[in-house]
């Protein structure tokens, strides 16, 4: 460590500089900032510092320890790869906006994981939403604009819940420090958990993810997939490790999205659903709360950023090169995008947890932890989900985009910087997958070794995956596999995008009708009362004339009488 400084500062400075520079200078800044920031974190001393007293509470800007440092390294790495992938953007694609907000977004994520208290966390929590929404809006379509707005509303809501929870906890415990919270039945703990849950795409709160990521720019989705949900995972790991409810929530999260993923047409939305599935593994690991479980969860978060980023990069490349992303429009791209296809397969193998690929080294930790704790049903669900994820992310994505039926689209591999970014990720997937003990396991927060490569693990996992693939082949042969259709599938968002507007519309018109009726009655009643009191002016339409000023003074009179009555009655 050269300079002891909260890491977000460098990224924020970089974000501002990216906004005012251009050309080579900006590109150098974008690549140099994550590298310098990441190197600066190496060998950093643990312990809270940069503490400030505000309004009787201590704000802690920088608290490096095992858990936060892992995410610190990860976010620098993700920012570097993402920036490299987005380096080619031109002004027509909103380069300045995207470059700048990506760095600010990464900085917010770093600020959140190194925050030592809930209020600082909240500030960065909201900044995460406000900096990242531009990566959606930069797409420039009407649809992306509205999606971005929904995204913003949901994340601001999550922030408000976090703040409310923090305030209530400050009230209860007198401190806003962010340590292990746990569900002790207090309202504050619940609010904070719900807030984290929204950001972590818990079931029923997951729809913002599958709604917004597919509408972001080709490069933006890479950043989006890296930071927001992982900050939530960090928060859960810090605050709610060992909360049993999370085991079951996680299990549900691994299972239900894969059904949606099978029938989804937009391939980036498929990745969104598979992302929820992967987060499910992490949430389960955190819920188990053992050293192995939490280690597995954060290790999986680390790997997920890389391989999910890689998959989003390959799909982003497809989108950029062909302008399409629906499975029904694509196919046969391996002929003209061979490198992208190869990287996609590496990413698919990693997410499917093939031995020698990164997912294997971390997903098996969570599953082993579930077994150790005796959660048989959960283990079976996870196993089901592990097979399912291979089915939709491991096979469906590469197959429908790059193989399958030839769509007739002829294009080329994307620009060099995009290929290099994908290449780095692919190499990382393989290196971490092959040598987990020399790489990833060294930075895990808790002690306790784990050896993924024994014969049993390798054999059973390979069996699971191969027979999952066999099912795919069989389903294709017998034409059972659902065709890719130009369609969407309704999800929870249906409630707020379809039902709610109609209910609000209905209630609104009902309210306005009732309101109109009540008001009409009240006005005519008042008219009659006043007309009686001023018989000599009745012909002049007294009320209509004086209503505006008169109504104010009537209020004065009413209140005066009300107060006097009230006070004299004391």
């Amino acid at each position: 460590m050269w300079i002891d400084l909260p890491p977000f500062i460098l990224l924020f400075v970089g974000g501002v500089l990216a906004a005012v520079t251009r050309g080579t200078l900006r590109k150098s800044i974008m690549l140099a900032v994550p590298i310098l920031g990441g190197l600066n974190l190496i060998g950093v001393e643990h312990g809270a510092r940069f503490q400030y007293e505000v309004a009787g509470q201590t704000l802690t800007l920088f608290r490096p320890d095992g858990l936060s440092l892992l995410f610190g390294y990860l976010f620098h790495l993700a920012a570097f790869i993402g920036n490299l992938f987005a380096l080619h953007l031109t002004d027509e694609e909103g380069a300045t906006l995207q470059h700048s907000s990506a760095l600010l977004y990464a900085g917010s994520a770093l600020g959140a994981v190194f925050a030592g208290d809930l209020i600082t966390m909240f500030v960065f929590w909201e900044l995460l939403a406000f900096t990242s929404v531009f990566l959606i809006w930069a797409r420039g379509t009407e649809r992306s604009y509205r999606t971005g707005f929904r995204y913003l509303v949901i994340h601001v809501l999550s922030g408000v819940l976090l703040l409310s929870g923090a305030i209530i906890r400050a009230q209860e415990t007198g401190s806003i420090e962010f340590g292990n919270i746990g569900l002790d039945g207090s309202l504050g703990a619940w609010l904070i958990l719900i807030s984290f849950g929204i950001k972590a795409a818990f079931p029923l709160a997951h729809n913002w993810l599958t709604d917004s990521y597919p509408e972001s720019t080709a490069t933006g989705a890479v950043f989006l997939s890296a930071f927001t949900t992982k900050v939530a995972i960090y928060g859960l790991a810090r605050g709610y490790a060992g909360t049993e409810m999370l085991v079951y929530i996680g299990a549900v999260m691994t299972a239900f999205p894969i059904f949606y993923a099978v029938i989804e047409n937009d391939l980036r939305r498929v990745l969104g659903y598979s992302m929820i599935n992967q987060i499910g593994f992490m949430v389960t690991g955190i819920g188990l709360g053992t050293a192995l479980g939490v280690n597995g969860a954060v290790a999986h978060a680390f790997n997920d950023v890389i391989f999910k980023g890689l998959l989003f990069m390959t799909m982003g490349s497809v989108l950029r090169q062909t302008g399409r992303i629906n499975g029904s429009d694509l196919g046969g791209l391996y002929k003209t995008m061979p490198w992208t296809a190869a990287f996609c397969i590496v990413g698919a193998a990693s997410i499917s947890a093939f031995p020698l690929f990164s997912g294997f080294a971390s997903k098996s930790m969570v599953m082993a932890a579930a077994l150790e704790e005796g959660h048989s049903i959960v283990w079976l669900v996870l196993l089901f989900a592990a097979a399912g994820v291979f089915h939709h992310a491991g096979i469906k994505i590469p197959f429908f985009a790059f193989y399958g039926h030839d769509s007739g689209i002829r294009t080329t591999d994307p620009p060099k910087n995009m290929l290099v970014a994908m290449g780095i990720s692919a190499v990382l997937c393989i290196v971490i997958g092959t040598f987990p003990e020399q790489t990833l396991y060294r930075i895990l927060p808790f002690e306790g070794g784990y050896h993924p490569y024994d014969v049993t693990h390798v054999l059973t996992q390979t069996q699971l995956l191969f027979f999952g693939a066999l099912a795919f082949v069989g389903l294709q042969k017998f034409h059972i596999y659902p065709a890719e259709l130009r369609s969407i599938n309704i999800d929870v968002e249906w409630l707020y995008r379809w039902v709610a507007p109609r209910i609000v519309g209905g209630v609104g018109s009902l309210v306005s009708r009732i309101d109109g009726a009540v008001r009409g009655t009240a006005v005519s009643a008042a008219r009659r009362v006043i007309a009686v009191g001023s018989r000599d002016h009745a012909g002049e339409g007294l009320l209509a004339r004086t209503w505006p000023t008169g109504s104010m003074l009537l209020w004065v009179a009413i209140l005066l009488v009300g107060y006097i009555t009230f006070y004299l009655a004391r």
């Binding site: 209020i119 909240f122 500030v123 004065v556 209140l559 107060y563 006097i564 004299l568």
Partner: protein
Amino acid sequence: MSDHLPVLLVVVPLIAAPIAALIRSVRLSWLIACGASWWALYAAWGLLSRVRGGEVISYALGGWPAPYGIEYRVDAVNAWVILIVAAIASVATPYAYQSVRREVESDRVSLFYSAWILCLTGLLGISVTGDVFNVFVFLEISSLSAYALISLGQDRRALTSAYQYLIMGSIGATFIVIGIGLMYIMTGTLNMMDLSERLPAVMDTRAIPVAFAFLTVGFSLKLALFPLHLWLPNAYTFAPSAVTAFIAATATKVAVYMMLRFFFTVFGAAFAFDVMQVDLILLPLALVAILSTSLVAIHQQNVKRLLAYSSVAQIGYMILGVSLASVAGLTAGLLHLFNHALMKGALFMAMGCVMYRVGSVRIDAMAGLGKKMPWTMAAFVVGGLSIIGVPLTVGFISKWYLVQAALAAGLWWVAALVMVGSLMAVIYIWRVVEVAYLSPAPDGDGVAEAPLAMLIPLWVLVAANVYFGVNAGLTTEVATRAAEILMGVTS
């Protein structure tokens, strides 16, 4: 001289006002106004630094000792309010120069500054005096000059709103005089401290609750507490921009101070809250104010009007803090008094800049202003974040203390409603931001950034919004001390 600060605080602007009217030179009368407001700021700071430690300054006007003569009495509570008024005035007066040149006919400008200084005098006078009838006199000085200032707006509706404000304001002031008269009849004194000693003996009569009722309604009218706020939106909308910024940031705050002074010092918290249980009325009205006027604000097309309704909602926050009748609640209310002055001042000043360049403050006129007037709209965004209560702005500090106070009182649903109010603020601020930053600008209208003379005062307030949002030490310390004095708690 520092011994005479309490009276000089008022006398200097009082003398400056006719001079400004007589000079008939735009620049000179403006300079006099600047001088008067800066003097007030200097004096306010002098007073505050003396009373911060807990000292109470008592100044006998004309050498007649209290309770026979008029007493000016300064403690942390009114030193705080005086500082708010003077600080806003000393930022708003420099700002007014360009804005007024554009919006007010030039032969009226020196009279405008005369009324401006008088309004300042009145507000300072209300805050500094320890004599209840003197409060009324200064109240009328500030109100009458405010009516005149509002009527100088460009739109002819400025005249009708000023007229309406005049009727409502005079009724409110007369109610206050009736309340004061009844108290005087019962006790024979007008000095606040004297009254607070003599009132308990006559508390059981019927006259005192009636006086209390008249005062409550009068103050509610003056501070625009729902549902007596109806005069405010029009007055703020059609007044010249500088006047809106000045009055919105100060007049209602001073009215809140009046209410606090009467409730807590004159009647005493025990009488007002335990016997009269005024909190039973104030709390629901404050909550309705927050929610209903925020809802109205969401639907406004004119941004000044939108901000005016938002002001009514913000007054609701202050009264909410007061109605909790605890040191924590009062601290929150007093903090918001200061903080709201900063944020509303900044927002209305930003709108004044828009008015200066665009000539309209309707939402549809804001299209593309984020690019054309970047500094102005950035200021609006920061002010808006403050209204919402985003951390690192003063708005957050107020909300934090308010929610804490509500939770401490066990009213968690009140805390939740405060949050709902914040969410509604997000919506109405967003409507403006959305149009300014996301709608394309109409072509070729050549709108440029506002002149520096307006931007600098605006950004001074914006900077204050952030500075006091990060470093809330001074504000919370003084507000807590003031709340302790009002509640009669000695620390």
